[in-house]
Point group: C2
Chain length 153, copies 2
């Protein structure tokens, strides 16, 4: 199953944008991900429509966050991306005549709905500021590790 990494990519990009403060071009953001600038523009288009980011053309232009990090949840981003399916499994056919298949679909739907609701709920509770805080913690950890290493030399 090929996995959709747009949510991961978008979160990455948004955190870099917040970290920078000033507008970042599609080219700069693409470099962060090792991808193509057009991929960035295409992906960010949805976020712009939802009001999560702003874009400016011309000199000094680029992308900026339209809200504070603590005012954006993972759920907001997921919805802005068009709510891609969370569950990797699906049915063979919708509205089958076969009663066996109807029973199978019903059982799977129930299981999927449960997991999907849990995941969606989780997404709605996690803010970008939470990720930024985790980043800061990792940053400090790395700095301390380096300091220790330098001292040992």
């Amino acid at each position: 199953m090929k996995q959709d990494s747009r949510l991961s990519a978008t979160l990455h990009v948004l955190l870099h944008m917040a970290d920078r403060g000033t507008p970042m071009t599609s080219e700069e953001l693409a470099a962060c991900l090792g991808t193509n600038p057009v991929v960035i523009r295409r992906t960010m288009a949805g976020l712009r429509e939802t009001g999560l980011v702003r874009s400016e053309k011309g000199h000094g232009g680029g992308w900026t966050l339209a809200r504070a990090l603590d005012a954006i949840t993972l759920g907001d981003v997921h919805r802005a991306l068009g709510e891609p399916a969370l569950i990797a499994l699906g049915h063979r056919s919708e509205n089958p005549q076969c009663l066996v298949e109807q029973a199978v679909n019903a059982a799977l739907d129930e299981a999927f709905a449960e997991a999907e609701a849990l995941l969606a709920g989780h997404f709605d509770r996690v803010r970008l500021s939470d990720l930024a805080a985790d980043f800061s913690r990792r940053f400090d950890d790395r700095r301390q590790a380096h300091a220790k290493h330098d001292k040992a030399l």
Copy 2:
């Protein structure tokens, strides 16, 4: 995201096999799903190795269930299919150098692990006999609806 419908297909096939009682050929099972016999054989190969089904060659051959319906869970079938990923979202890269990406991965992994565990747990609690019972209920419902319809004529 292309969804994997092998679990759905396999459950469908297994229930038909149980309903029949005698061996069913790949061709018959393929007809149930509107697919190709080779797809059936390929998919069932994993189930045979796990001991969920048996296959016989030659005249009167075909596929039969190796266990009772209440001794097979959805989880058994999922594992026999090679445990295909349950979550449709993924990371851009594993073990990234970028601390931002590390923070993103950590946040998503946590969310995914939670949902995946819920779904896997659900699969382990549902037996094929549960689906068969639901099928029977639907069958009776349809029969009653038909009877009512006939009476009205």
